[in-house]
Each structure stands twice: as C-alpha cells, then as structure tokens.
C-alpha cells in the first residue's frame, strides 16, 4: 500500500489514537519515515494532544474552590440548612434543659430514676424513637419516605449523642414536637416498642 501525504494527514489523528488497522499503520510508518513534512505533522499533532492533556495547561483561579464551595453550600443547603441549625439548637437546648433538671433533681432526690426527674413532657420528647439506615449520618422518624435498606432504631437523644442528624424532612416535624409540645398529627411518631412497624423499602 503506497500512501500520499494527504492520506497521512487524513489518518494522523486516528494513528495517534491507535485507531488504524495494522496494514494501514505499517504503510503510514513507511511513508512518515521518508517524509519530513508528515513527520512534522505527526510530531506536532502528538504534541498538541500531550500539551492540552496536561493538567497544568489550564490553571484554576486562586479563589475557585473557596468560592465554589461557599456558593454550593448556600444553594444546595438553602432553607434546609437554616432549619437544620434551628433544629439542632432546639434539641441542644432541650438536652441542656433536661440535663440541668436531672442534675438538680438527682441532688435533691438521688434515689429517683433520671427520667422520673424530668418533666414528663420533656422526657417524652427526647425519648422519641428514630430510625437510622445503614451507616448513614442521618436519622428519621418512622414513616419518613427516606428510610431504606438496613435499619436500626434508637432514641433521638441517643442519636444526637452519636453525632447523627435528622434528615431534612424530619427536621421540621421534630422541631415542631420539641417546640410546640406534642407530635405532629401528620407524622406517625414511633411508639417505644423497638419492633414498631416501620415503612422500609
């Protein structure tokens, strides 16, 4: 197979990508070996591929990552982020309040069980059973549509102590429970029976 320069130029890109059949490859190499122009075209084209493929060809602006992450955080988390903060504050406040009550009461009446010393209402709120899926960092109320896969149950205060956070949908329901005294009637708050009927995918 005898090739002309035009044939080489037409196939040079495929040749660089190793995308020519063996017979054509041999013929191209024979031509290129004896043709200075085609050697220059091949070498230069290879250089184009190499130089643009190098990560250093395009530098990122100095503030790219901080700005990107700040913007994404604002936009991805959005209102949920604020709700989350409010909820965590509410729960933290409730736990602190409960702990204070417990300390005072234990000192006054050491024989009593801890949650006998809490107001019945507060103890009830912190003892809401929640569901954790797999190794997720989030917990859910029973009935939350985001419960899926392997699950385990624990009380909300335990989940918080483990560093878990409520999922966005459950935030509002739990916040309502903690601040308005009583479960959201639309939310199927779990009983304390660990074998409760959880809607699991």
């Amino acid at each position: 197979m005898v090739l002309k320069c035009e044939d080489i130029w037409r196939e040079v890109s495929n040749y660089i990508d190793g995308d020519v059949d063996p017979q054509l490859k041999v013929a191209m190499e024979q031509h290129i070996a004896g043709c200075q122009k085609c050697r220059a075209v091949l070498a230069g084209s290879r250089n184009v591929v190499q130089i643009y493929g190098d990560d250093r060809a395009f530098r990122l602006p100095a503030d790219f990552y901080p700005q990107l992450h700040r913007k994404l955080e604002d936009r991805v988390q959005g209102p949920g982020r604020r709700a989350g903060s409010a909820w965590i504050l509410a729960v933290a406040a409730a736990i602190l309040l409960a702990a204070s009550v417990w300390v005072v009461k234990v000192h006054e009446r050491p024989a009593l069980e801890a949650h006998h010393t809490l107001s019945p209402e507060m103890a009830e709120k912190l003892k809401t059973l929640v569901v954790v899926t797999g190794d997720s960092k989030y917990f859910h109320l029973a009935g939350c549509p985001y419960i899926h896969g392997q699950t385990r149950t624990m009380f909300a205060d335990e989940a918080l102590r483990e560093g878990l956070k409520p999922c966005d949908k459950c935030l509002k329901d739990l916040a309502e429970q903690l601040t308005s005294g009583g479960p959201n009637p639309d939310q199927d708050v779990a009983s304390k029976d660990p074998a409760m009927d959880i809607d699991v995918d």
Partner: protein, 223 residues
C-alpha cells in the same frame, strides 16, 4: 455543614468506583444533601476547565461551573446509571456553557479561515518541526495563554470535540454521547481540531519556547 478546604485543593481527587458513586447518588437523592460535595469533588476541576474552554473567560467559567454543579444537584434524580456520572456532569456543564455563550453572543466573532467541511480533509499550512514539548514550558504563563488563544481560534464544534477528547480524556463514544453526534463525526472533527491547533502553535512552539530565546526561528504567536 463545614466544607474542608485544603490549600492544596487543586490536587486531583480520585473518583470512587462506579458502583460506589451510584450508591452515593442514591443517598443524596434520598436526602443526604451534604454528600453532594463528596460526589462532585473529583470533578470540580474538570467542570471548570470544560466551562473555561468553551467560554474563554475565567469569571464566566467560574459562574458557569457553579451553576452547572448546582443544576447537577437539582436534577440528580434524573441521572441514569447507564452513563458515567462524570460524563453526565460534563454534559450538564457543556450545556450551561453553551447557554451562556449564546446569551453573551460570543460566537458572533467566528474565527477566520474556517472551511466548513466534514469530510476530514485538511491541509496543514505549516510544517515547522515541532518535536519536543519541554514540560517546564507549561509553567510559563505566556505559553498557557497561547494554548487558550489557540483553542479560542477553533469554532465551537471543533473546540467542543477537542476539549472532550483531549482535555477531558473522554472516549470517542462518550464524546459522541455528550454531543449527540456519531462517533465518526467526533473523529473527523477531532482530526481537524488537532491539525488546526498544530498549525496555530507549531510556528511558535518549535523549541524556542523552552529557552525563552529571542531567536526568530518560526513566528511566535505571542510576539
């Protein structure tokens, strides 16, 4: 949420396996929003470079990258596991960059000497012997600026194919999928893009750039 930003954030972060990535996507879709950062972290640089290659302007590229990532988050539930997440994300970015390009009418200034042929024939105009790429040349700002200028000299259809294949390192098939064209068209456009870039760069990148020599060998595009 507290994003951890190391000063060396520009270092590449390896992507997880396809299965792990899909599992991560499912968790995000089901409410674990903060995992989105983990998902896109390996691709942030690629997203920016894609946007920059199309828009040729740092500020626009930065905005486009942010918007593209947010759109990817919003539409993550639409992602189908048949495709690679990175391919889908780059497609979202390309669409965002194209939209901005149209909006800014940047394509009105089309490069000259553009012959609209799809048959793959292209006659090189310059035969300067450009053999070696000194790797340290990329540390020079003027060289990087010339690479951007050369890329900008291509029309959109060649630039897009070239960036997907040779900058984003996508396969021919992935590039074809992103652009909605045939694999054959990708190859044809890539050939022309590579040859046009060589024509643009070779006269100035014939070796003189390694030494910052003032030797008049070839025409320096930056002179």
């Amino acid at each position: 949420m507290n994003l951890k930003l190391a000063p060396e954030a520009d270092l590449p972060v390896s992507a997880p396996s396809r299965e792990a990535e899909y599992a991560l996507i499912q968790r995000i879709v089901h409410g674990e929003k903060e995992l989105f950062y983990q998902l896109v972290r390996p691709y942030e640089r690629r997203v920016y470079v894609m946007a920059f290659a199309i828009l040729r302007n740092e500020a626009d590229a930065q905005d486009a990258a942010q918007d593209a990532l947010f759109k990817a988050f919003k539409h993550l539930a639409q992602f189908r596991s048949e495709a690679r997440f990175s391919t889908w994300l780059i497609q979202v970015t390309l669409n965002e960059a194209r939209m901005r390009l149209r909006k800014n009418h940047l394509e009105i200034m089309r490069p000259i000497d553009e012959v609209e042929q799809e048959d793959g024939s292209y006659t090189p105009r310059d035969f300067t012997d450009w053999r070696e790429i000194p790797s340290e040349a990329l540390e020079r700002k003027q060289v990087r600026e010339m690479l951007v200028k050369a890329l900008a000299s291509l029309t959109e259809k060649y630039r897009e194919v070239f960036v997907l294949r040779d900058v984003q390192h996508m396969s021919t098939e992935e590039a074809a999928e992103v652009l909605g064209i045939s694999a054959g068209a990708v190859k044809t456009r890539l050939l022309r893009a590579r040859l046009m870039l060589r024509d643009f760069l070779a006269p100035g990148l014939d070796g003189a750039w390694a030494t910052q020599s003032n030797s008049p060998k070839g025409i320096k595009p930056w002179s």
